[in-house]
């Protein structure tokens, strides 16, 4: 194990997979200079054939992945900010997510799209979205949102080796967060949530950028004598319904924390699943801590006001702890 920054873990994953399989190619706008640091240095190691700076043409970039992947390459596209998912949406939604089905499974599409999401840095409305659900809703593409360096590395490696399309959502502005990362080659499986701790009183479910505050809220509750089960969703599509249901049923009291706008969020999807599959175990309303249905303003206090926070997680936890049936 080594203490590693999130962005370094991602960079390591890319490097290791490019070393492992020469069919892996990477392209995107300024992937050489690497604005976030995640693709830094790859051009020096793998050269301009496999690492390509591109023009600003998101619609072509997303669609291109299909042609290259169907021709036998393992394609990594760096889309920079997650708001550009919208800019290149046709390729993602109308092509990547359904080309295999439409072909009657003639082809595999080993495509990984990387995009950095989230607010809190006064990047204003066009550089701060958390567009999990527009991609989750497509069906034909896996959606990953790691919260820590080890998972980021393990999930990205799985994504690249996966013969199906994956979008890898990188939590924006958290490249510096540090965690222990195994030294050996490892994969974090797609489709598995992680139960970070088990406690009998309340279940806190977080994902990606909200995981840290979720854990911190659990720590606070712990000090007050409230024991939390804490789940990191990690894979938003496919969702690990079994683990989520198990964790929710343990306590019957659930708070889901997701930076997406509330409407049709990952949090809402999880709540819907629980309200169906674990209904009998629920003891209190399922609470969602999400961003209200609003784009993020520039002014920091106005932006912060809308985003999930430890305080909001605790407030929601207190509601579910104090309402509903007792055990």
């Amino acid at each position: 194990m080594a203490r590693t920054r999130l962005i370094t873990a991602i960079n390591d994953a890319l490097r290791e997979e490019m070393e492992r399989d020469e069919k892996v190619i990477l392209f995107g706008e300024d992937v050489e200079a690497s604005i976030f640091g995640d693709t830094r240095g790859l051009i020096d190691l793998f050269g301009p054939r496999r690492v390509r700076n591109t023009p600003i043409s998101e619609n072509t970039l997303t669609g291109m992945t299909v042609g290259a992947a169907a021709s036998g390459y393992r394609v990594v596209l760096h889309l920079m900010f997650a708001n550009f998912v919208y800019t290149g949406m046709d390729g993602i939604a109308n092509q990547i997510a359904r080309a295999r089905l439409m072909s009657g499974a003639q082809i595999d599409l080993p495509i990984t799209i990387i995009a950095s999401y989230g607010g809190g840095r006064a990047n204003a409305a066009q550089h701060s979205d958390t567009p999990f659900s527009p991609v989750m809703s497509l069906g034909g593409i896996h959606v990953l949102a790691p919260s820590n360096p080890a998972d980021a590395k393990g999930l990205l490696k799985s994504a690249i080796r996966c013969n199906d399309p994956v979008i890898f959502f990188e939590p924006g502005g958290r490249g510096g967060e540090i965690g222990e990362v195994p030294d050996e080659d490892y994969l974090t499986p797609i489709g598995e949530a992680a139960v970070l701790r088990e406690g009998k009183d309340v279940t806190l479910i977080g994902m990606g950028s909200t995981m840290r505050m979720t854990i911190q809220a659990a720590d606070k509750l712990d000090k007050e004598g409230v024991e939390s089960t804490v789940v990191d969703v990690r894979s938003l599509a496919p969702l690990d319904e079994k683990t989520l249901c198990g964790a929710a049923s343990n306590t019957g009291r659930v708070v889901i924390v997701d930076e997406s706008r509330d409407r049709c969020s990952a949090a809402s999807q999880i709540a819907a699943i629980l309200a169906d599959r674990c209904f009998g175990y629920l003891r209190a309303p399922i609470k969602r801590v999400t961003t209200p249905d609003c784009s993020l303003p520039y002014a920091p206090a106005s932006e912060k006001y809308l985003l999930p926070s430890i305080g909001k997680v605790l407030a929601a936890a207190n509601v579910v702890l104090s309402t509903g049936e007792t055990r």
């Binding site: 399989d21 190619i25 054939r49 390509r52 591109t54 023009p55 043409s57 619609n59 072509t60 970039l61 997303t62 669609g63 291109m64 992945t65 299909v66 042609g67 290259a68 992947a69 169907a70 021709s71 036998g72 390459y73 393992r74 394609v75 046709d90 390729g91 109308n94 092509q95 080309a99 295999r100 089905l101 439409m102 072909s103 009657g104 499974a105 003639q106 082809i107 595999d108 599409l109 080993p110 069906g139 034909g140 799985s158 080796r161 996966c162 013969n163 199906d164």
Partner: protein, 332 residues
């Protein structure tokens, strides 16, 4: 390469065969649609056969072809099996896409047919990626993207030009200019000359004014394929043709105001039928005789009838198969 390169006799007969196959396919599908035999709609390419035939004559199975919503002809010309085409359009398991795609999505990757597409213009990014793969493979094969005049107004065309020009992608653009974008005459929705758009990126261009003359298309393609295979980067062919059929076979039910005259269509049918044009030329030049030509005609008709029978005899896909085809579910 000589500018007057011309298909020899056997090549001409192949072109004729291909055009007949396409023609009979489309005529059959028009009937099938009217009879309610195709579950979904069809966009037919009757009258445009020369483009598909002339372009694909220069391609191997290693070369790739991305097509559009009007893709039956491209599929057949590129070597796709009409049997699997009919089975597909009839929605059968034996269809090339196992009945999952239908008319707008026919693809046979084993033949380099990387897909018709229901999103106008979407073949352009896809073939840009395919051509990138060709470049990396460096095996002399290249990718062709066929798209309509209407598709030319999707910005991805110019985005793709830029990639292809910058990276010298082995990519041929073929604009099948049939004069209409759905029900809009081209000049009402498309400014300037489409091939000029390619020139702005330094991409060399050939405009085939008579795109129904399969020999002219063949000739332009001889140039383009030689140019691209030599590693020079992308090229562009604009072929002027005409759509004889409706835009789609439901058209008469939905469009109440005519956007072209019956006379215009009739005139085209009579004067610019690519099959008649090629036959006529061969006879005029005394290259062959009616007997040979008619044998090709009959043979094509027979193949399509067999294909129809194959499609009809096909089985309905298992109801629950869609979810199974979504993902490979495998890892490398």
């Amino acid at each position: 390469m000589k500018d007057n390169a011309s298909p020899d006799l056997s090549q001409c007969l192949d072109l004729l065969r291909t055009m007949y196959l396409i023609r009979y396919t489309e005529e059959q599908l028009a009937e099938d649609f009217a009879a309610g035999k195709t579950p979904g709609g069809v966009h037919l390419s009757t009258g445009q056969e020369a483009v598909a035939a002339g372009i694909c004559a220069h391609l191997t199975d290693q070369d790739q072809l991305a097509s559009n919503h009007r893709g039956h002809g491209h599929f057949i010309a590129k070597g796709g099996d009409p049997k699997t085409l009919f089975a597909e359009i009839y929605g059968k398991s034996e269809g090339i896409c196992r009945g999952m795609g239908g008319s707008m999505h026919v693809a046979d990757y084993s033949k380099g047919i990387i897909g018709a597409n229901g999103i106008v213009g979407a073949g352009l990014p896809i073939s840009t990626g395919a051509a990138l793969a060709d470049l990396l493979d460096d095996d002399g094969s290249f990718t062709v993207c066929i798209f309509g005049d209407g598709a030319s107004n999707q910005g991805v065309l110019q985005e793709s030009f830029n990639f292809a020009a910058l990276w010298k992608l082995p990519l041929l653009y073929v604009c099948e200019h049939n004069g209409f974008c759905q029900f809009s005459p081209a000049e009402t929705v498309t400014a300037g000359t489409i091939s000029d758009r390619a020139k702005a990126f330094g991409i060399p261009v050939k405009v085939v004014e008579e795109g129904n003359d399969v020999r002219a298309v063949w000739n332009a393609m001889a140039w383009a394929s030689e140019y691209i295979r030599a590693g020079n980067g992308p090229a562009f062919i604009e072929a002027r043709t005409y759509r004889i059929n409706n835009h789609f076979e439901r058209e008469h039910l939905v469009v109440q105001t005519p956007y072209r005259t019956r006379e215009e269509v009739e005139k085209m049918r009579q004067e610019r039928d690519p099959i008649i044009m090629l036959r006529q030329w061969m006879l005029n030049e005394n290259l062959t005789d009616e007997k040979v030509l008619s044998a090709i005609d009959k043979e094509a008709a027979r193949i399509i009838q067999e294909s129809v029978a194959f499609g009809e005899a096909g089985t309905v896909p298992p109801e629950n198969i869609g979810l199974e085809y979504m993902f490979a579910g495998t890892y490398n």
